[in-house]
Amino acid sequence: MPPLDLKDGSVEAGLDALDTPVNAPEGNLLRRIAARALPPIGAIVLGIVIWQVLWAAAFWPEFKLPAPIAVWNLIWELISTGKIFELFWTSVHRAVIGFAISLLIAVPLGLAIANIQVVRRGIGPLVSGLQSLPSVAWVPAAILWFGLNDSAIYWVVLLGAVPSIANGLVSGLDQVPPILPRVGKALGAGRIGGIRHILLPAALPGFLGGLKQGWAFSWRSLMAAELIATSPDLGEGLGQYLHNGMSLSDISMVFAGILLIFVVGVGIELLVFRPLENSVLKARGLTASAR
């Protein structure tokens, strides 16, 4: 951590002054937001500049590397026609619902695997095996079993996200210092109380990492599931948009699709996981700044 941002003040100024250290005003929200937002924006701008330079140098033909402006035009068209909202909404709401259902299934599953030896040995490896199955593998079966509708999509998302979240939880639970559940037991925690009040909160920092990976899995599975079919009934999501670009061999459209998916990924990270992580780590004195 950089040394506290103190104003110069002579120590002789009086001891009272020290009781509440003369710090940079905390309320300077603008500055703090800037400190958060600037680095990623800087990185993105840098990326775009490199892209533009590479393109301008005509290092590759245009059909290999599209012009940034061409991609921007596509995105702008989506924005100005309002279509971008449909794309975002379709994909994000599906991903959120799929993730939420996955969570409901994965948490009990992870708890069972981590805490019950037979389940760990019997089901544990199978869950990892499931996790290694690509989402597209499930597409034919999903269509056969569920038909061409949202159920098929959720099925694919679930099979991607559940094993990942469950594994993340198991890994988080495995790292809980054994003294904590022992203390819990000594304090009178039963099976359920111990899980609810000791194991789950203790595993939270590790579990958060697993959740992030689980989200990535469910989002990526969704993108794969959205490739199943483009149909008016299903609505058009980002996955379809990307797929259309690929079908038309339109590299600008592919780039626009990638960028939009990327933006959602970064957005979810910045708006959901980053604050969650920060607050969890800070409450436990695990911030990197403590190092």
Partner: protein, 268 residues
């Protein structure tokens, strides 16, 4: 298998003893690398008794407490537990890092289903008792070593208050593993006094591990000395009500015995 724990009421004669060891042994690991921590331990704590456990570092005191608390199973012998679930002060503070100091103290009450307002009040009171009034909203990592130990103490005290439900009617038991080791002399004095007061007021039995012979003699009614490798009960002293010169003599005698036990082990 001879190693069993009977959680039922153990009525030997007609007294309900909070805990009684029958030739208890405990080994860690198996085969060549196994470590025998306890061997053939016979020990009983009477209802309302204050027993201090002394022994060299690594002789098995913590292991013994864990057995009583039901956190480990003996490898041989038998433990009769007549008390309701014992409250434990662990050697490490082992606070839950995601809870504030007050949250940690409230935890056993929460697990027992005590309503929120009552929990709050009780936690504040206990924090006051361990001289941490007003620090309830600090997180464990913001507390000093001694403060953490005191929070753990308050937490254990909170968990003794459960005398309803399955624990009803049974004698209660408090297990304390060097609870005052990280405290300055004055705070320690105060807390020793408080502990004695609580002990007298509630009639709970206490099994108290310490390294400080003086503390053992001051607090305990009985002092039990464990040997090292393996831990066995070497000798016991009744020290209830000793004062002045008698107390000093007892301290002297126990110290000498402790020295003997430890040096004999070092020689072996």
């Amino acid at each position: 298998m001879t190693a069993t724990v009977e959680a039922a009421r153990a009525t030997t004669g007609n007294a309900v003893r909070p805990v009684r060891f029958h030739q208890v042994g405990k080994a860690f690991g198996t085969g060549k690398k196994s470590v025998v921590a306890l061997e053939g331990v016979d020990l009983a704590v009477e209802t309302g008794e204050f027993v201090c456990l002394l022994g060299a570092s690594g002789c098995g005191k913590t292991t013994l407490l864990n057995l009583v608390a039901g956190l480990d199973q003996p490898t041989t012998g038998r433990i009769e537990l007549g008390s309701s679930r014992p409250a434990v002060v662990f050697q490490e503070a082992a606070l839950m890092p995601w809870l504030t100091a007050a949250g940690n103290v409230e935890l056993p009450l929460r697990l027992a289903g005590v309503p929120k307002a009552q929990r709050r009040a009780k936690a504040a009171e206990l924090l006051e008792l361990v001289r941490l009034g007003g620090l309830g909203d600090k997180r464990p990592h913001e507390l000093s070593g001694g403060m953490r130990q005191r929070v753990a103490l308050a937490r254990a005290l909170a968990s003794t208050t459960d005398n309803t439900g399955s624990g009803a009617g049974k004698p209660s038991l408090l297990l304390m593993d060097e609870p005052f080791s990280a405290l300055d002399a004055i705070t320690r004095d105060v807390l020793q006094g408080e502990l004695l007061r609580i002990w007298q007021a509630t009639g709970t039995a206490i099994l108290f591990v310490t390294h400080d012979v003086r503390e053992a003699v001051r607090l305990g009614r009985r002092v039990v000395l464990l040997s090292s490798r393996p831990g066995r009960v070497v000798r016991e002293w009744e020290v209830a009500g000793l004062a002045g010169a008698a107390e000093a003599a007892a301290v002297e005698e126990i110290n000498a015995e402790l020295r003997k036990v430890i040096s004999s082990h070092a020689a072996a």
